[in-house]
């Protein structure tokens, strides 16, 4: 097991370095420098700015400095647009918010999705089954950027129950969480349902029933674990999509997470912030897929590692 984790890390670390170097080269290849404005600055000022931000160093030294800053000091450097703020400060301001509603959404999606899927599989062809199948089809065509306006329209404009945006107590969490988690909930429910149906038809379940175990024990003890394997392998991609979706939530509900900073920096061409967030998200993704793989290997005894 330990060796397996080490081997996975041996792939994850180069991936992350590649991401950092690639995004750095992309930024370097951008036409115009970061200080190109509509009103051209005097060349001395540009030279001074370049010197301050280290942009007059040779390219390899810039890359080494940038990578070293991130790896050794967790420092993404200064923002090119806001001279008084560093990328770290911008991320630190938004990340807790994203983490809060992201984690709630993720947990809610898994718990509700798995319960709905299991219920649908146990009572196949009942109303709860049709509900699960129906919502999972509906959620495919209602991505978060469609859900968000519809939620605001219904719950803020028509019913007036929930605030349409901002960030405060738990009442502000409801709509972002619903908008972000619904489609994952539906996918998880669909995956759980089909794998549960498959497991329920297998021999070891028949044996468990034959030896007189109560149905609840058959489901929880013997059926749930193998049925969850496909769900676990779905969690990795779901995490990526969810992080991407948080951009929409931040934009639409003005929650103030890192998604907002990302889009703002994209519109301002603040490359340092864009790169910082991209790398952070990339690192989280890689870390999460590592955790998922280890979890999978730990649960499924058939996996050789």
């Amino acid at each position: 097991m330990f060796g397996y984790i080490l081997r996975r890390l041996a792939v994850a670390i180069p991936t992350l370095l590649l991401l950092i170097v690639l995004s750095f080269l992309l930024m370097h290849a951008a036409p115009g420098g970061p200080f190109t404005q509509e009103r051209a600055l005097p060349p001395q000022i540009v030279a001074n700015l370049n010197a301050k931000y280290g942009l007059d160093d040779p390219l390899w030294r810039q890359i080494v400095n940038y990578v070293w800053g991130i790896v050794a000091h967790f420092d993404f450097g200064p923002s090119f647009v806001y001279p008084d703020r560093s990328v770290n400060q911008i991320i630190a301001a938004g990340f807790p918010v994203t983490l809060t509603y992201g984690a709630i959404s993720f947990i809610a999606a898994v718990i509700v999705g798995v319960s709905l899927g299991v219920a649908a599989a146990i009572r196949q062809n009942s109303w709860i089954d049709y509900l699960a199948v129906g919502t999972s089809i509906g959620a495919q065509v209602l991505p978060n950027f469609v859900m968000a306006p519809i939620l605001v329209l219904v719950f803020t404009l028509w019913l007036g129950w929930l605030p349409g945006g901002g960030w405060g107590g738990p009442i502000y969490w409801i709509m972002p969480v619903v908008a972000l988690s619904t489609s994952f909930m539906a996918s998880i429910a669909r995956i759980t349902r089909s794998s549960m149906l498959e497991v329920l038809g297998s021999n070891h379940i028949r044996t468990a029933r034959a030896k007189g175990l109560p149905e609840s024990k058959v489901i929880l003890r013997h059926a749930l674990k193998p049925a969850l394997l496909p769900v676990i392998s779905y969690l990795g991609p779901a995490f990526v999509t969810m992080i991407t979706g948080s951009v929409v939530v931040d934009m639409y509900f003005s929650t103030g997470g890192i998604g907002r900073s990302f889009v703002d920096s994209a519109l301002n061409r603040d490359y340092a912030v864009m790169m910082g967030i991209t790398i952070l998200v990339g690192a989280l993704t890689i870390l999460f897929s590592l955790v998922v793989d280890v979890l999978y290997a730990w649960i499924d005894p058939k996996i050789r590692y």
Binding site: I277, G282, T285, S289
Partner: protein
């Protein structure tokens, strides 16, 4: 005793024209036709395509004209009506939403089809090559795909769009860059199971070069899987483009797409111009629905495993 009647019917059957065999494709076609949801979805898709192609000749206003009578008070004057020719209403700049929706449909469908097209070509060739060649080449090629898949592509795509300027070609390139990854994995898996079959062995024995085996013998046998996956990929590409356009980072005015229209409609619904959200959203949803159902139908039709 020989039953004369039976003998006669046997003779009649023997003299009939030879029974026509059914190819696997004909079987698949029959299965697909029996799937009601998929057939209805196919009709919906054809209607949406017709709307995109011929919609402009039905529109009373062009997408760039502004109706100066409506400008500024779209909420009261810009309602959908047949009297002034704005079938879907207008936005607050007085632009006709019908022709804007037609334009958005064209752009979104194009993005979806081209993205899926790139995925089909690049992904199939890449996956088939990796699977057929095998060994170390395969390991390196697929490890690369794994690494690329681990990168949060939406962020990289936005990075690309910002750095190299927001244009349609950049959007196609960016979406095309990521769309083939999943496809190449699926194709590789299929190729692995194909490559030890007798007809490939025969081709190899007669000295056909590897690239030719891939193109002439492997790829045609992958068509079923590729078709299914490509159909399911189109809506995903449309979703990606809409997502970027929703953030205001996608196609630029005067061009528009479903995502851009939905974003605009979502931004103005507080002012009571609900039609700006509903019409683009309607086309967006039915098209995605239809693509998913057609894809599912194709999978059921082409995958004899589940029969």
């Amino acid at each position: 005793m020989i039953d004369t009647q039976q003998m006669q019917s046997l003779a009649a059957r023997m003299s009939e024209a030879e029974v026509k065999g059914r190819s696997p494709w004909a079987d698949a076609r029959r299965r697909f036709r029996r799937n009601k949801a998929a057939m209805i979805s196919l009709v919906v898709l054809i209607l949406v395509a017709l709307f995109a192609i011929f919609g402009n000749s039905l529109a009373a206003w062009s997408n760039e004209e502004m109706d100066f009578e409506v400008i500024g008070n779209a909420a009261t004057m810009g309602m959908p009506s047949f009297a002034n020719g704005h079938y879907f209403g207008t936005d607050d700049l007085g632009r006709d939403l019908f022709s804007r929706t037609v334009q958005g449909t064209q752009v979104s469908l194009m993005v979806g089809l081209i993205g899926a097209g790139i995925a089909v070509i690049v992904g199939t060739l890449y996956g088939a090559t990796a699977g057929y060649v095998g060994g170390r080449t395969d390991a390196i090629m697929m490890r690369t795909v794994d690494i690329l898949l681990a990168i949060p592509y939406m962020f990289v795509l936005i990075l690309l769009l910002v750095i190299f300027g927001r244009s349609m070609s950049m959007l196609f390139l960016g979406i095309g860059l990521i769309s083939w990854l999943e496809m190449s994995r699926i194709v590789r898996g299929q190729t692995l199971s194909l490559k030890n079959r007798e007809f490939i062995e025969a081709a190899r024995a007669t000295g056909v070069p590897a690239w030719r085996i891939i193109i002439r013998h492997i790829v045609p046998n992958l068509l079923g899987v590729v078709a299914v996956y490509a159909t399911l990929l189109v809506p995903l590409m449309i979703l990606s483009e809409s997502f970027i356009s929703f953030l205001g980072l996608g196609v630029q005015e005067p061009l528009t797409s479903w995502g851009a229209l939905i974003s605009e409609g979502a931004g103005t619904m507080n002012y009571g111009t609900l039609w700006q959200l509903i019409f683009p959203l309607f086309f967006f949803c039915i098209t995605l629905f239809a693509f998913f159902f057609v894809g599912d139908g194709l999978r059921d039709a082409l995958d004899p495993k589940d029969r």
